[in-house]
Symmetry: C2
Subunit: 358 residues, 2 copies
């Protein structure tokens, strides 16, 4: 059942609750501006007035967020160039590469490109665990809310053994240690591949900005709102089986190729890569309060993200009843959502070292 | 009414008649290979082993022809690099930009990209009369069967005056001198813009390959098969008006933004641009005989090209009866098609001079 936005500026209002999200984006912008001002060394990058400055956004989707971030990056670089030499206005040209997997809707992305943009735009289809660009051709890479997507479901999960999980674990496989470890190992593999590919593509001194949703350190997944989300999602699937709309076998073979790391987990993976230094790692102000309203908000956001995978696995007739039921269930579990800690928005600034590639 | 392909290897067979088209593509490949072997100066291009070699295909559509041409270009360059230094195998990486207008179906293009390609691929949406790439970043540009598309209908044609054409000229406006001159002037403008944009993007010594369908020098349009095509097309439109399916006003406001130049016309436009030298200009073997079969073949090719513009102007219900009628009319006019000379496939090789940009 559709619920209208809560008006006014009370505790549950949209205006009040969306400001958290706005604060996250605002803080990410500040961190990017500071990074470009303080950590970007134009001489090290070998940028001169006739250069092309190349920026890539990995996991761009169809906009408009990617355009906002890219415009901010370019304005920060222009400001830096202006401050570096006020006498000789720079004639540097910008080229921006928008990357996402080959099934992304690039047609929509291209039609949405801002008309008055200050850069030459290109779309790059491909998986960012692989190489996407020629060596040493990028100066800045951004990736917002994309690195949690895995290249595949861990092989331990899709194997024949997976049917041996008991009923409770079908409802929420992510709480099973072996499953959590398999996802974590796949994430480690994928981030290592990602960093090695980017190390080839980024020039020495180049910067990479990563924004990712993480699980707070030291708190079991089951005691976070993300854990509650997984549990409610799984329990909804089980309800569908009870109603005869799907089967437990079908639910057991449903897996989503993503993983939310903890800050420590991500940090330790990055630190094994000698081509990058962590210049900054900051937990941004929480974008959500644990309010009931936000649980509701979350529902439509969840649908936006998961509708595709749910439809692919369970079929299109499944989608509507499932998400309707999910909305109801989230309401019922509001107090559980309010009890636990939210995931965090983690900003990581990496710098490409001068180390030559092997 | 659908007609099956004519089998066997008789005069009207597909096998016989398609060989002309194959010959054109084969010859274009030879000319590109020769150009890369003889006219590409790697030192002038400042290509060393750590460089990125950048190729752009302008007007790429959705493949697969663009992939075939690009692969051929890259293999020719690899051969040249190998011959230049057999001791030190090149580690040069290739980046290929596929360009077409923003309404092109890049999703289809991206999904069709060869999996085993030797290059990093990117799509670039935009009109090639404008800048598309940063300055001095491309080494080779290819454009096959695309440059006849104009940036717009000449303003003289869309003006209020256009209703003053008489009945015969509505049927075939292209035979009216003022109209032909307006299209020719628009083509000149567009090619000048195209060359000026490419002069900025191509490095000194960079090559550009152009393949374009041209009208033979010294023959009036009305006495070429292209003229017969225009006439039959216009007469079909008039028949539709007689049947009450459309109106003469609607036909009068129907214009297709393309122009087929003569070789001399194209040559003289290029020669006014100081940033390019014409290294070669060759009429390729005719891809079509004037046979009745080819007139039929042409019908489906015509539909592939013109269905979009016809649908946009006359509506979707118009398309099927129109092209059915067109097929019949082409048959009726077979002897006229056989009497006149076909348009020619023209290959032009341009080289970017060392002249600095103003």
């Amino acid at each position: 059942m559709a619920q209208p936005m809560v008006g006014g500026d009370g505790a549950h209002s949209y205006a009040k609750n969306s400001s958290g999200q706005g604060r996250v984006m605002e803080r990410a912008k500040e961190l990017i501006n500071e990074a470009i001002a303080d950590k970007l060394d134009l001489k090290l990058l070998k940028i001169d007035t006739s250069s092309t400055f190349r920026v890539a956004d990995l996991g761009c989707s169809t906009g408009p967020n990617t355009f906002i971030v890219v415009q901010n990056i370019i304005e920060a670089i222009e400001l830096k160039l202006l401050q570096a030499d006020r006498q000789n206005p720079s004639t540097i040209e910008f080229q921006v590469f928008f990357n996402d997997h080959p099934e992304n809707d690039f047609n929509t992305l291209f039609k949405a490109l801002p008309h008055s943009r200050k850069y030459f735009a290109a779309g790059v289809p491909g998986f960012f665990q692989n190489r996407l660009f020629p060596k040493s051709t990028l100066h800045i890479i951004n990736s917002s809310y994309a690195l949690h997507w895995l290249s595949k479901i861990p092989k331990e999960i899709v194997g024949g053994n997976s049917l041996t999980w008991n009923r409770e674990s079908i409802r929420n496989k992510r709480f099973v240690n072996e499953v959590a470890e398999a996802y974590s190992a796949q994430f480690k593999n994928d981030i290592e591949s990602f960093l090695n590919a980017r190390a080839q593509e980024l020039v020495a001194g180049g910067l990479m900005f990563i924004l990712i949703v993480a699980v707070p350190d030291g708190i079991p997944l089951s005691q976070t709102t993300l854990g509650v989300f997984y549990d409610v999602f799984g329990s909804c699937l089980m309800d569908m089986a009870k109603m005869g709309i799907t089967s437990e076998e079908k639910i057991n073979s449903f897996n989503i190729p993503n993983h939310r790391p903890t800050p420590k987990e991500l940090e330790s993976i990055i630190k094994t890569n000698k081509y990058f230094t962590i210049e900054r790692m900051e937990q941004l102000a929480n974008r959500m309060s644990q309010s009931t309203f936000l649980a509701k908000c979350r529902t439509s956001a969840v649908r936006a993200v998961y509708e595709g995978v749910v439809m692919e696995h369970f079929g299109s007739e499944f989608v509507e009843p499932f998400f309707n039921h999910f909305t109801v269930k989230v309401e019922e579990n509001a107090s559980r959502f309010e009890k636990f800690q939210n995931p965090i928005d983690l900003f990581v600034l990496l710098k490409r070292t001068g180390d030559e590639l092997n």
